[in-house]
């Protein structure tokens, strides 16, 4: 019985959840502005055109999305400096639980085709990715953003089994011809059609 209790303890602590630090710096302070707060900040600029309710602006990438409710906005202000990540990070809640959207951008002008080529090489050489899961499709957002959607699956080892995830990367150029990547991650078996639709329906260059 003692052995059983010990095993229970090992299982419990072995399976203890790790909460991610979404920034690159372990000492990052995360603040979570609500969508309304962002909206209020946007509305303070009287000259700016009116934006839809719940618009999230990724300043560095110069794009915006309207993700709707059930998203936690994580602002990693310290780690974002000098990093390719664009704040905020969108972390799914409620119906979007298990989904995450992160935006990255290059510092200079870059071609989407070059990005796809590097991405393909990296996906195919990464030991955690699933072979032959790399897929490319063209996409056009309702607001005229044209690019390529890359999709691939990867495995994360968890206790007795592995869990399969799907990464979808929307690659396109912003108004300054910098390459922007919207990295949308979720469980491979989770229906992500609604979120993908949201990206295509609301993605705009700012």
């Amino acid at each position: 019985m003692v052995l059983s209790l010990l095993l229970c303890g090992v299982f419990f602590f072995g399976c203890k959840r790790e909460y991610p630090n979404y920034g690159d710096n372990p000492q990052t302070n995360t603040s979570k502005p609500s969508i309304n707060q962002l909206k209020a900040a946007d509305e303070s600029d009287a000259n700016a055109p009116a934006l839809p309710q719940g618009t999230v602006i990724f300043d560095k990438a110069e794009i915006l999305l309207v993700p709707g409710e059930e998203w936690d906005l994580i602002k990693t202000s310290i780690s974002a400096e000098g990093s390719s990540i664009c704040i905020p990070v969108l972390n799914g809640l409620g119906g979007n639980n298990g989904a995450m959207i992160r935006v990255f951008t290059t510092e200079e002008k870059s071609e989407v085709e070059t990005a796809i080529s590097i991405l393909k090489t990296q996906v195919e050489s990464n030991p955690n990715t699933i072979k032959n899961s790399f897929k490319l499709t063209e996409f056009n957002s309702v607001f005229g953003v044209h690019g390529t959607q890359v999709s691939y699956d990867y495995l994360v080892k968890r206790f007795l089994t592995g869990k399969k995830f799907r990464a979808q990367v929307y690659l396109f150029q912003n108004s300054k011809k910098r390459c922007v990547a919207i990295n949308f991650i979720t469980f491979a078996d989770k229906d992500s059609a609604r979120i993908q639709e949201m990206i295509r329906d609301t993605l705009q260059l700012n």
Binding site: M1, L3, S4, L5, L7, C8, F11, F12, C15, R17, E18, Y19, P20, N21, S84, N91, G92, N97, G98, A99, M100, R102, F104, T105, T106, E107, E108, S110, T114, A115, I118, L119, Q122, V123, N126, N128, T129, Y154, V156, R158, F159, L160, T161, K163, F165, A167, V169, C179, A181, N183, I185, F187, K190
Partner: protein, 149 residues
Amino acid sequence: MNPSDEQYFFDLATKVIANRASDGERQEFEALLNQSSDHRERFEVFKTDLIVAKDIVSLIDAADATGAGLNEKQLERLQRDVDEASSTPGHGKSYHTFYLIILLLGLLFALAVGIFINISSNRTLALTADDISTPDEIIKIVINTLNNR
């Protein structure tokens, strides 16, 4: 039952088991057994012991006769007889079996709890740092490579 009565009871029992009791002695013995459930119980235990002892003695006789000792099969049989004779609660084979079952049940319970927690953690939909590390690493390499061109 006083000691002399007890001795008489076992003498009769021995004769009955050995089929050497007369009709009168057999009837008397039946009457003794019917007198008390304790008598019947003691007779059953005595009969079992005697059968086991007879079995063991026959094995030892066989070994003495051949002069080669007991072979593996005979030793196994002897061990089984001894185990059966000593299988009382708190001692012997049944005691070990009981604790073995408890241990196995404990292990099964621990395994079930582990599997349950694992399934729960897989169903917990919030992504962890581990979950995003692969695509994070890949996209950062892509962006850094583009930046360094």
